[in-house]
Structure formats: C-alpha cells, structure tokens
Assembly symmetry: C2
Homo-oligomer: 309 residues x 2
C-alpha cells in the first residue's frame, strides 16, 4: 500500500487522504492504522480548549510560528463544535490560521462530529496517530469548550492548555467542577482587558487550594495572542511542563489513560454493532411490547442481555 509509505514520509496529500478515510471509518483505514501504529508515540500532543471567543486559534497560530522557528513540524487538528446550527462566531476564527497553510512544515485539519457514538474522539485520535506517524513533532488539538465531548478529547492530550479571558464570565468559581483539574497550563488571554490580574489571582488561589495531582504547580501565563505578547513565555512553559511530565510517571499515566479510553470506545462501538445485527429482530419485537406498555424499556434490555449470555 503506497499510502502508508507516503504518510510515513510526511506527504501532506497522503496524510489528508488517510484522515478522510479515518473519518469515513473505512475498513481500509483500520488496516492502515494498525500498520502505522508502531511508528506513533513520538509526537507531543498539546490540547487547547476554552470558551468560544477566548482566542484559541490565535494562540495556536502564534505558538505554531514559534515552533516553526525551531524547525519543528506541527500538525493541527481543529475540532469544530458539534453545533448543528451555524455557530458562526464559534467557527469564524479558523481564518486566523490561514497563513500557516502555506508552510510545508504545518498540516491543518478541521474535524467535525458526525453524531456517531464515540465518533468524534475516535476519528480525532486516529487523526493524531496519522500525524504522529507522519513525523510531526507537535500535534495541537484545538477544541471549543462547549461540550463534554470536546473536553473529553482535549483532556487526553499530553499537555492541556486551558484558555480563559477576563470579563467573559470565565471566573473560576463559575467553571464547572472537574475542568480546573484538566489544565496543565492556564492561559489568561486578552490580558490587556480589565480584570486580568484578578483572574490570574483567582486561578492561582484555586490551584493552591486544590490538592496537586502532580509534583509541580500548573503555570498561569498572561498572553495577548493577537499581539504575540506572552507567547514565548507560554512556549517555554510548555517545554518546562513537558520536562516535569517526563521526569515522573505523569506522561506515561496520561498516555495509558488515553489508550484505555480508546480501547473502551472501540469495544463499545463493536459490541453495539454486534448487538444490533444479532438481535435486531428481537429488539423490534420488544419495541412493540414497550410501545404497548406490556413491558418497560429496562426489562426489555434485561431480556436481551440474558439472551445474549
């Protein structure tokens, strides 16, 4: 198969083609992914998330330029929000990455959900594998923090950047439990706005109060992405956190969690497909009974499960 070799050689057209196959969940794609898997694990994956309008795309753009100055190859996966309505404001800032598309050492891909169970995260992680095997040094996954699924994706990256903006209602108290924990680095973007220092203090205080999962405290960095302010400091801190992570077991544990989640997602998908094909008539018959209120849905499920034994 030609495509494997050309993906391993970093050919952008082949990379794009394979990611499309991956999104379409073709059998071919799975075969190829199995083959290239042994070439993965070398790239550093960075997840960036934050509310719509927090300037994530600009940050990704500026970070990528710094990585390119160091001659690092960068793959970018921009996960579009799953909104079936336009959400123009959410997607509008993709354009801020356009100048990167001409750079040979940068590959950018937008991915959207297709509504399939576990679909987005699977396609996204398969795309990461493709980019990883193709020789990218860094893979940046940008997700808009509008849904649990986007957060699930980003939290499986090696390093997670949580982007907040002063005065956007992003006060730390308001952020749902569990979100602060996923941040390895906190970015206060648009830090020339009122309240930036208060937001930094709030984040620092919350971090001081919460039990550290790691031996180091996540840095809090002020940036103004549009003016390239704070970007060098941010990239240095990514380096620093990476070193922390690789000195201890942290990276290994994170990657193990990602793999475990992926196996479980694959299992789920496969089991459901099997169930559906093997028991579709049975399910149809039970649906009728449930509709007539002769039986409830839970008991219907239990009947199928006990049959499947």
């Amino acid at each position: 198969m030609d495509i494997i070799q050309s993906v391993l050689n970093g050919d952008k057209r082949s990379i794009a083609k394979l990611i499309t196959l991956v999104e379409e969940k073709s059998d071919d794609a799975t075969k190829i992914l199995k083959t290239i898997y042994k070439y993965t694990g070398r790239a550093r994956t960075i997840g960036i998330t934050g509310a719509p309008g927090s300037g994530k795309s600009s940050l990704v753009n500026k970070l990528t330029h710094i990585l390119r100055e160091k001659n690092k190859k960068v793959g970018i996966i921009a996960v579009d929000p799953t909104s079936p309505f336009t959400g123009g404001a959410i997607l509008g800032d993709r354009i801020r990455m356009q100048d990167l598309t001409l750079d040979e050492g940068v590959f950018i891909r937008s991915m959207g959900t297709r509504g399939a169970l576990g679909g987005l995260s699977r396609a996204c992680y398969d795309a990461v594998k493709v980019l990883d095997a193709s020789g990218m040094d860094y893979i940046i996954i940008e997700t808009v923090g509008v849904g649990q699924s986007e957060i699930d994706i980003v939290k499986l990256a090696d390093i997670v950047l949580l982007v907040m903006v002063p005065g956007m209602g992003d006060d730390v108290q308001a952020i749902k439990a569990g979100i602060m924990e996923i941040g390895d680095i906190f970015v206060v973007n648009k830090s020339d706005k009122d309240g930036a220092d208060r937001l930094v203090t709030e984040i620092e205080m919350t971090l001081d109060l919460s039990p550290h999962k790691n031996s180091w405290k996540p840095p809090v960095i002020k940036t103004i992405a549009t003016e390239t302010y704070g970007i060098v400091e941010l990239s240095e801190n990514i380096e620093k956190v990476w070193n922390h992570m690789t000195q201890g077991d942290y990276l290994k544990i994170k990657r193990k969690n990602r793999i475990r989640q992926e196996i479980i997602d694959l299992l789920t998908e496969t089991l459901i497909k099997k169930m559906m094909s093997r028991y579709s008539e049975k399910i149809d018959a039970l649906v009728e009974k449930v509709l007539e209120r002769q039986i409830d849905p839970y008991s219907a499920m239990e009947i199928i499960i006990s049959d499947a034994k």
Copy 2:
C-alpha cells in the same frame, strides 16, 4: 413505596425527588421507573431547539401560558448545554421562565450533562417518564442546539420545533445537513428583525425541495416571543401537526424510534459496565502492550472481543 403514589398523584415535591434519583442513576430509581412505566404514554412531548439566543425560553414561557389557559398541566425540562465553561449567555435566559414556577400546574426542571455515556439522554427520557406518569398533559423539552447530544434528545420528542432568528447567521444553507429534517414546525422568532421574511421564504423553499417524510408540510410560523406575537398561531399549529401525526402512523413510528434508541442506550451502558468489570485486568495488560507499541489498539479490542465469546 410512597413516592410512586405521590408521583402518580402529581405531587411536585415527589416528582422533583424522583427525577433527582433518576439523575443519580440509583437502583431504586430504575425499580420505580419500571413500576410507573405503564402509566406513561399519555403526555404529548414537544421538543424545542435552536441556537443560543434564539429566544427558546421566552417561547416556552408564552406557550406554557396558553396551555395553562386551557387548563393543561405542563412539565418543562430545560436541558442545559454541556459546556463545562460558564456560557453565561446560554444559561441566562432561564430566568425568563421564573414566573411559571409559582403555578401549581407547571413543573420546571433544569438538567445538565454529567459526562456519562448516554447519560443526558437517558436521564432526560427518564425524567419525561416521571412527568408523563405524574399526569402532565404536555412535556416541553428545551435544548440549546449547541451539540449533537442536545439534538439527539430533542429529535425524539413527539413534535419538534426548530427555532431560528433572522440575521443570526441562521440562514438555511448554513444549517448542517440533517437538521432541517427533524423540524415538525419551524419558528422564525424575533420576526420584527430585518430579514425575517427572507428567512421564512428560505425555509419554505428548502421544505418544498426536500422530499416530505410526511404527508403534510411543516408549518413555518413567525413569532416575537417577548411580545407574545404569533404564539396563538404557533399553539394552533402544534395542535394541527398533532392531528396529522395521530391520523397517520407518524406518531407511532416516532415513538417506536424513541423506544428503540432507549433500549439500545440501555444495552450499551450495561454491556460496557459488564465488560469493564469482567475484563478490567485483561484491559490493563493490553494497555501496557499498546503503550509499548507491541500491539495496536484495534487488535487489543479484537482480542478482548474474541475472548468474550
């Protein structure tokens, strides 16, 4: 069990308590839901979705007032977006329903995602069952159209209202494939804004061009919810569509689909739980191998599946 009788009697405190049990996925809740299931199926469920800021809450409020004038009991489930960031703007309009909370014939509940697999839709449909058994005549499910999961929920309602607003980027072309199809009634809210008539025309044209799933064409209604403009017409059209649906097989088919989806969700959840407890050691061992690139995740999954046979 006292709670069953008081839910069947329509006691609001008991309803609230049972929905909480349902959200916590307690074993008790499932037992109770099994028992009350035979009392469900009488309420009409109406799903309302649209982009943030399209005025869904105001519409729900005004519709509810009209239903109350006819002495109908109304249960409202407001599904919060799953955003782990604040999304203040998305949630802000809950307050527009506050005047309803004092009405004995109205029950309002906000529900959020907990990130669990199929968690939101299961909890939401269990809540619908509780409200249905409690004697509500109408159950309105309001979801912000920001994610696939919210759309999945609303499209399982008996009648789906798609709310759009002129000039919000909600032009019909921009709406993702598959969304137009789920609308049984189209609402152009804030119709005093520029472009309202054009939006109506666009919707009409799209409906004319697409093959009708039903024997009737979905109505397109102009409203200004805040001024109660168009609300009577909307409620009359809900009645009309209901009559269409019950004359043919349409309602039955929709309800069957909902039940099938629910059984599949329950199956999925149960199967994964079983897998996880039965094969957790095996999965751990395979995770190590995948991490070391001795094996790929797909092959790891296949090993577990073939073992499970």
